[in-house]
């Protein structure tokens, strides 16, 4: 039986707010499509993090705090409280930073947010992607299928 809810394990409290703020800049909302900063995107990423090696997961999650803190240098506030153009300036700075660690961190965060967003069926509809030809063939983990199909509600 499929669960009805998925409770976020890693994106909780302040970290969830940071995630949503970053995801909304990596994938901004459009006229007919949501932005990346939704609980559903966070749910897919959170689920994937369970399978990430422990040490890597720690570094990955730490980078959200780094982005939040660096916001003070760009707009005088934490990243999540800054204006959108200030947020973008910080993210571009990270992306093009001379320090490889910053570029790596940004690349990892961006990749996971894109995974969390572009594997969801409601998002597929916004750009007319038909999805699998084999249809709704069962998978061993019904939770991730349910999150991606919007059948499992993600809760903070």
């Amino acid at each position: 039986m499929t669960a009805e809810f998925y409770k976020l394990q890693y994106f909780t409290g302040k970290r969830l707010q940071i995630f949503l703020a970053i995801a909304n800049r990596i994938i901004p909302a459009g006229n007919n499509s949501p932005g990346g900063g939704t609980l559903e995107t966070a749910g897919v990423v959170d689920w994937a993090l369970q399978k990430m090696p422990l040490n890597l997961r720690g570094k990955f999650l730490l980078f959200f705090s780094v982005i939040e803190f660096l916001g003070f240098f760009f707009g005088g506030k934490p990243f999540s409280k800054n204006r959108d153009d200030t947020k973008d300036r910080e993210l571009r700075w990270l992306e093009n930073n001379p320090l490889r660690l910053f570029r790596m961190g940004f690349f990892g965060v961006k990749t996971y947010i894109c995974m969390g967003y572009y594997t969801r069926e409601d998002v597929w509809k916004t750009f007319n992607y038909d999805g699998p030809i084999v249809g709704d063939k069962p998978y061993v983990d019904s939770v991730i299928r349910g999150i991606c199909q919007g059948k499992v509600k993600v809760i903070a």
Binding site: I27, A48, E95, Y118, N128, Y139
Partner: protein
């Protein structure tokens, strides 16, 4: 627990699968042979064509990178190895590359008859364009033809292919003729045992120490229950691939006598670039690749192949984010993709080492030549896109990665897409063709095996996988791996 065999093959991809199929006569004559595979045994019923679910079939769920994170490496971690998620591209090793390898006995005269046999066995065919040419392939051909670039057809090993287009997530119909469809079933039928979820820790003469894990949910369990095992075997053939085989040899202490173990890795640094066509073309429908051009292979060290990818991986290839990413992905049904494969140099500093958990870590740096090659290729791809009718293109190393045709004069494309805009860990370089690490050769100081894959100084130990390559194959390596494995099996049988 102790188990006795005559021959053990470690790995079940193109190398291990081929060796197993060649040893069938020995198995039929009574020899006890087993294949130990570290990954799970996925059946075609497992493949759902959904990206996030199918990450299971890749090493580290597709997140394995070189040590500095600048290149994402896709390699199989399953029964069938990388033949589970490749596209079926079946290239002969070009004669000039074979000669450049300079390994005694590895000649076109030796390899070509093996290629002929293997092409027949794995049902590699030249796809009929009337059936297989979807818009992505057609536009590539037309673009190249308009530019006067030679276009050639790829050989693809498929049977009754329904062109669903999800080859890289595992073929849900089993029509792609990888080792799980061809060699392994034949071997098992002849009595060769396949043991999945079995990681080899160390080897020594006649002995293998290994750990069997529980089969992940939804995969086929093997005959052994989880635990530590000691296997005895008169001959051991390592086919764990460029990451796996050197790691086993290093963990087993062979590096002291054979210092070349793990070194001279090449990985065909790759980029996927896309053009935006004015009409809907839905290029994820149909077979993703049937053409390539080697027009720039000798001058600029790269091949260009048709390809197409699913939405999430497509976002990664573009290197974009923000409004540009949204703009491009909203045109997913208008996208045309080209895969760039660069021929990289075999350098001793590009190597597999063991990390603190004795797992393989890949230390690899792109050279200036590689970066120039990848940038040159992006400029040529932009020309092909525009010649084919695309109005915009995405080149990750472009001064402006997303640009319109009329924004850059053709003669300035090489300036617009140049190494000065290429930034490691930003420019999304990938690899799916790891090679080297146990290179063949005569000298134990600079190579690991002889030209028959026998590890120098150890007549009981062989290597049969892409780690044998002394230099880059330039082309997709699958058929070459099988031909070398065919040679190894010949020696083992003798």
């Amino acid at each position: 627990m102790k188990l006795e065999y005559d021959i053990i093959i470690v790995g079940s991809g193109a190398g291990g699968g081929t060796v197993a199929s060649r040893l069938i006569p020995l198995a039929q004559a009574g020899a006890r042979i087993a294949i130990l595979e570290a990954g799970p045994h996925f059946d075609k019923s497992y493949f759902t064509q959904r990206e996030i679910e199918m990450l299971d079939i890749f090493k580290d769920r597709g997140a394995w990178t070189v040590a500095d994170g600048s290149i994402t490496v896709s390699t199989g971690s399953a029964v069938g190895g990388s033949t589970l998620m490749y596209t079926g591209v079946t290239f002969r090793l070009p004669d000039e590359v074979c000669e450049e390898w300079k390994v005694d006995g590895i000649t076109p005269q030796d390899l070509n008859p093996r290629f002929d046999r293997l092409i027949d066995e794995v049902h590699a065919i030249e796809p009929d364009e009337a059936i297989f040419e979807n818009d992505n392939n057609r536009l590539f051909r037309e673009g190249c033809e308009k530019l006067g670039l030679p276009v050639e057809k790829l050989l693809i090993n498929i049977k009754e292919c329904e062109q669903m287009g999800f080859c890289n997530l595992g073929c849900a119909k089993g029509h792609k003729q990888g080792t799980t469809e061809v060699q392994l079933p034949q071997a098992q039928k002849a009595g060769i045992e396949l043991i999945p979820n079995c990681t080899v820790d160390r080897i020594s003469k006649g002995k293998i120490s290994a750990t069997v894990k529980a089969a992940p949910m939804g995969t086929k369990p093997g005959s052994l229950s989880p635990g530590n095992y000691e296997f005895s075997a008169k001959k051991i053939i390592l086919s764990g691939g460029t990451a796996g085989t050197p790691a086993i040899l290093m963990r087993s202490g062979f590096q002291k006598e054979l210092p070349a173990i793990g070194k001279y890795i090449t990985l065909h640094p790759a980029l996927v670039v896309c053009g935006i066509y004015p009409a809907k073309i839905k290029n994820y429908k149909g077979f993703p690749k049937i053409y390539f051009t080697q027009a720039f292979s000798k001058t600029h060290h790269h091949y260009l192949e048709t390809a197409f990818y699913y939405p999430f991986i497509q976002t990664k290839h573009t290197g974009l984010w923000g409004q540009d990413l949204k703009y491009v992905m909203n045109r997913y049904n208008n996208m045309m993709d080209i895969l760039i494969l660069a021929h990289d140099e075999a350098l001793p500093e590009n190597k597999i080492v063991l990390d603190k958990n004795t797992e393989p870590q890949l230390n690899y740096k792109l050279t200036g030549r590689n970066i120039e090659s990848l940038c040159h290729a992006q400029a040529q791809c932009a020309r092909i896109f525009f010649a084919a009718g695309c109005e915009e293109a995405v080149a990750p190393a472009g001064k402006k990665p997303l640009f319109k045709k009329n924004e850059v004069d053709d003669k300035y494309l090489e300036e617009f897409i140049s190494p000065k805009y290429f930034l490691p860990n930003k420019t999304p370089v990938a690899s799916a063709h790891l090679q080297g690490g146990c290179r063949m050769g005569r000298d134990g100081k600079t190579s690991v095996t002889d030209s028959w894959g026998q590890v120098h100084g150890h007549d009981w130990l062989y290597v049969a996988d892409a780690s044998l390559f002394p230099k880059s194959s330039h082309v997709n390596p699958y058929l070459t791996i099988m031909a070398l494995a065919d040679r190894v099996a010949e020696k083992v049988k003798s």
